[in-house]
């Protein structure tokens, strides 16, 4: 390669390496601030500010959703699998919001701790399935559960062996 071109190639590599290093260090320094939300565990541990508006993300605990009869106010618990946090919200929930689904709530922390949310967003996952497949899976699970229940009642050896076979 021509020495001048070699020098320019080195310059190009230097630009890319140096800017990557700079941005990499900046991103590393900001790593906590780049998270969109806190987990309930972080909030319970006191890592989130009690003054600023914060976001908390997690799974809506099944059976925790309570609606007030004459208003849009709702209460539910968010969990990260370890700790749980109560959230209070008054407003319209997104269509995809539901128990057992992920959600991100934004608002201010109150003693308790309880998050007084002014915004609730639903978070969906990267899986896409047609409804028939989901229905089929539900029916399959139900059939399997029924079969297992019947197998336990009968407690007969051949039936149990049939169930465990692949």
């Amino acid at each position: 390669m021509h020495p001048q071109r070699r020098r320019r190639l080195a310059l190009v590599l230097f630009i890319v390496a140096l800017s990557s290093l700079g941005v990499g260090l900046a991103v590393y320094a900001l790593r906590q601030n780049l998270n969109l939300f806190y987990t309930p565990r972080q909030v319970v541990a006191g890592e989130a500010s009690t003054l600023a508006r914060i976001r908390v993300g997690g799974m809506v605990v099944r059976g925790s959703l309570e609606r007030e009869p004459d208003s849009l106010a709702v209460r539910f618990r968010l969990t990260d699998g370890d700790r749980e946090l109560w959230v209070r919200y008054e407003g319209i929930l997104p269509d995809l919001f539901g128990e057992g689904e992920a959600a991100v709530a934004a608002g201010h922390l109150r003693p308790g701790p309880l998050l007084e949310a002014d915004q609730v967003l639903a978070k969906h996952d990267e899986n896409y399935t047609p409804p028939e497949v989901v229905e089929g899976m539900k029916a399959g699970h139900a059939a399997r559960a029924a079969r297992e229940a019947a197998g336990q009642e009968a407690t007969s050896q051949p039936n149990a062996a049939e169930d465990s076979a692949p």
């Binding site: 320019r8 630009i15 800017s19 990557s20 990499g24 998270n35 996952d125 047609p130 409804p131 028939e132």
Partner: protein
Amino acid sequence: MAERRWQWFHRLASPPGFYRVSGRWLPWLAGTSLALLAVGVVWGLLYAPPDARQGNSYRIIFLHVPASFLALAGYYVMAAAGAIHLIWRVKLADVVMSAAAPLGAALTFLALFSGSLWGKPTWGTYWVWDARITSMLVLLFLYLGVVTLRQAYASRETAGRACAVLALVGTVNIPIIYKSVDWWYSLHQPATIRLTAAPSMHPDMFQPLVVMILAFYLFYAWVLVLNVRAEILVRERRAGWVRDLAGEGESE
């Protein structure tokens, strides 16, 4: 021997040579990309099954994901062209870089806009400052920066070099966009299509998505070639071969 091996390359890399050769690619690129686009749109929007949770609103994925793919891939095209221009001073590379910038900006805007429309019915908001969306907005500004930086210089030579440096510095953003959903907590879901694992999508939905991605790649190539040809004509408007070309057009 070595001379002859590189002859086709030099012919292709010279603006008039590229203009002549690329004219033969245009009908193929146009035909295949438009045909695949038609197939993908009809298949994805009419025949693919709805999603169990999102219903029909997920169908915007057939536009959103291909546009995002090309917004990222197009940046590498622009940055690579910039590097080639910086190192080897290939004129055509500078033309490709200036043609790729507005195209990439349009695709990035399309990805952001379609994502925003998708966000309202699923997440409950048009916009959220999470790492994926913010880094994508930075990509839009990088593209627009390259477009405007070129116009800021009187000399084409200086403008080309400055744009190439900006494009190269911006490449660090591409892996950040790609990994943002894995590195940080974000509202945007992780990738459905991965190189290392099977797609987390039913085949009936995945197949039209693949068609749309292929269609977008071909469409990108088609529009890029069109942009490059137009830019070549503008830059070489005083050259003899362009005058001849224009003369031919008049006499016909």
